[in-house]
């Protein structure tokens, strides 16, 4: 009754099983999760908890062994590789811990890359990429290659790239893991302002003081979600 907001992500009974020798090991063991449109969720957990596997499945980089994953109302759990690629291109923007920018091309070209695969023509690509570079305050660095930028600047280029195709969800995997405190603050401010503009954000982190910025905190342990808290609670990962 209270829930009239749109549900962007809906996981039901998600399991991911790996064969190790002749034993089956469950990296994810039955995950049920709903994330509403505009939510800022922090995904926490110690290493080996399965949060990276969950992240890969949420990001459509991997498929669950069992279960249903509805993204924006559409079932994506068992799509073909190419369909998953298209879904990633149109609905998800990635921000990685180590930026993952292509080193041989300029910041502008990096930002425009998802548009290449979306089939947007080159004039519009450049225009849109420039707009998002301006949004993260790097318009004057458009022609620089990633290795001519600082860590914080690189992450801002990566964020611009994540936003360029106007996706429903931003997936950030430890986006501040390689940054100093000042840059971390800048990046988190950008995430906050994206959140305020109504974008759905999923942030993987193991730093509690990053997670508290989020409106919702999820703790993953041994392949299941063990805690689901609102804003303000400080979860102890260990």
């Amino acid at each position: 009754m209270s829930n009239i907001e749109k549900i962007t992500i809906s996981l039901r009974g998600i399991k991911k099983l790996y064969k190790v020798g002749d034993q089956e090991v469950a990296a994810l063991n039955g995950i049920d999760l709903d994330i509403k449109e505009g939510e800022f969720a922090a995904l926490m957990g110690p290493s080996g908890s399965g949060k990276s596997t969950l992240m890969n499945i949420l990001g459509c980089l991997d498929r669950p062994s069992v279960g249903s994953y509805k993204l924006d109302g559409q079932e994506v759990a068992h799509l073909s590789d190419d369909m998953l690629a298209r879904t990633r291109n149109q609905k998800i923007g990635f921000v990685f811990q180590n930026f993952n920018l292509l080193s041989r091309i300029s910041a502008l070209e990096n930002v425009a890359l998802p548009l290449v695969y979306a089939g947007v023509d080159s004039d519009e690509r450049e225009e849109r990429a420039m707009y998002f570079l301006e949004q993260v305050g790097l318009a004057d660095r458009a022609d620089h290659q990633p290795n001519e930028l600082s860590g914080g600047q690189r992450q801002r280029v990566a964020i611009a790239r994540a936003l360029v195709n106007d996706p429903q969800i931003i997936m950030a995997d430890e986006p501040t893991g390689n940054l100093d405190t000042k840059s971390t603050k800048e990046i988190m401010e950008i995430f906050q302002s994206m959140h305020e503009k109504g974008r759905t954000i999923i942030l993987v982190t193991h730093e509690p003081d990053i997670a508290v910025c989020a409106s919702r905190q999820l703790l993953v342990r041994d392949g299941v979600i063990t805690r689901d808290e609102g804003k303000g609670v400080v979860l102890d990962v260990v």
Binding site: D62, F96, R104, Y117, N165
Partner: protein, 397 residues
């Protein structure tokens, strides 16, 4: 995008292309040398006259011991006359004899082959007279002591003097020079075709060599398609005239210059194919070079592939990216190779003692081959790249 990637590794791209460049260049250069040899052979054979049949005497056979081919003495001038009269589809019949003599003019002497021929020899061998005239019908009928000399003989005996009207001595008999032949150069067998003295057939047979037989009869057939028919007719006629019956062996040979030409051009075509395919092997090796470098490139760029896939690149996108790279190597290498090959074949043609012929066919074939090789050897690495798992690829260091 492909160019950016290739330019990022200039040295490596160049070395990879080198394989294709050398392959295409070698194919073009080799084939052009082969075609050059072929055209040389065809030219020199057809300069002997086209549609030619040559009748020569068979070998002697004394109690089972056989002599050399042509050693029989039973091919007569009359046989040649009979062939001309009785057999259809013949343009010219030219019986001839030849022997070597010392030729003397003033205090100069020269050894050359003296040929006795009828006037038709001129047409049959496509000879031209540069000054004076050729042996005439009446010279032949009257057994005149006249001679037409080749340019080599003229230079060696007369130097700069005009030989026409001068007297030379052949085997101590005086002959009047009535003409000098236009130079024909070397034959395909390396013989100097200008080192010859031509006299009337009857003069040679009766006054000079004292023989009542001819050493060969050249026959020009009017139509290339009738060669076999005419050859058979001649064989039948000569067997009749020489009274050879039943299964007895012919005492003469009829040889067909067309079949000689065919054999020679077949041989040279084989040679061309052989040279071309050896060069083609280097083209294939060049292709393997492309594959090798593309494999390295895929491994090196695993992370890049992972990023592109995470951002939405499909199997096809990645596949095309790498395929285009390897095809571009093939195309650029092919173009440079064509340049090198043509250049090389021109150099060989200019400075080596070869005729080289560049035709569009080997150029087109080797170029499309190099593009095809880029494509073929690019498929495996490109597929490998496109099939990479994005999670694995992103984790790759």
């Amino acid at each position: 995008m492909a160019f950016t990637a290739l330019l990022a590794n200039k040295m490596r791209s160049l070395l990879t292309m080198l394989g294709i460049i050398i392959g295409v260049g070698a194919v073009i250069a080799m084939v052009s040398v082969g075609m050059g040899v072929k055209s040389d052979v065809v030219n020199s054979i057809s300069s002997l006259g086209s549609n030619m049949l040559i009748v020569s005497p068979g070998s002697t056979n004394r109690g089972g011991v056989r002599g050399a081919a042509g050693s029989r003495t039973n091919l007569k001038y009359d046989d040649a006359k009979a062939i001309k009269e009785k057999i259809k589809n013949i343009d010219f019949v030219s019986p001839s004899v030849s022997r070597s003599y010392q030729i003397v003019y003033g205090n100069q002497n020269w050894n050359s082959s003296v040929m006795g021929v009828t006037p038709e020899y001129m047409s049959i061998r496509s000879l031209e007279v540069s000054t004076g005239s050729f042996v005439s019908e009446s010279d032949n009928n009257k057994r005149n002591r006249v001679a037409v000399i080749g340019s080599t003989v003229a230079t060696n005996l007369f130097g700069t003097t005009n030989p026409v009207g001068q007297n030379i001595r052949v085997n101590n008999q005086p002959f009047k020079v009535i003409g000098v032949l236009e130079s024909k150069g070397q034959s395909s067998m390396g013989q100097d075709q200008d080192d010859v003295v031509i006299v009337p057939l009857t003069t040679a047979m009766e006054r000079l060599m004292a023989m009542d037989y001819v050493s060969s009869v050249n026959i020009q057939v009017s139509d290339a398609n009738k060669m076999d028919q005419v050859q058979e007719d001649i064989e039948v006629l000569l067997r009749q005239r020489h009274k050879i019956i039943g299964g007895k062996e012919d005492d003469f040979n009829v040889r067909n210059m067309t079949s000689l030409m065919e054999t020679m051009s077949q041989t040279t075509t084989m040679l061309t194919i052989l040279l071309g395919s050896i060069a083609g092997i280097s083209l294939v090796v060049g292709g393997i070079g492309i594959m090798n470098i593309m494999m390295v490139s895929v491994t090196e760029r695993t992370r890049e592939i992972g990023i592109r896939k995470a951002l939405g690149a499909t199997f096809q996108n990645i596949m095309m990216q790498f395929l285009i790279e390897s095809v571009v190597i093939g195309v650029i290498g092919g173009i440079i190779g064509i340049g090198m090959g043509c250049g090389l074949s021109m150099l060989v043609g200019k400075f080596g003692n070869f005729t080289t012929v560049i035709t569009p066919l080997p150029v087109l074939v080797s170029f499309s081959f190099s593009v095809g090789i880029g494509l073929f050897f690019g498929i495996y690495p490109a597929r490998k790249a496109a099939k990479l798992d994005p999670i694995e690829a992103l984790r790759y260091e």
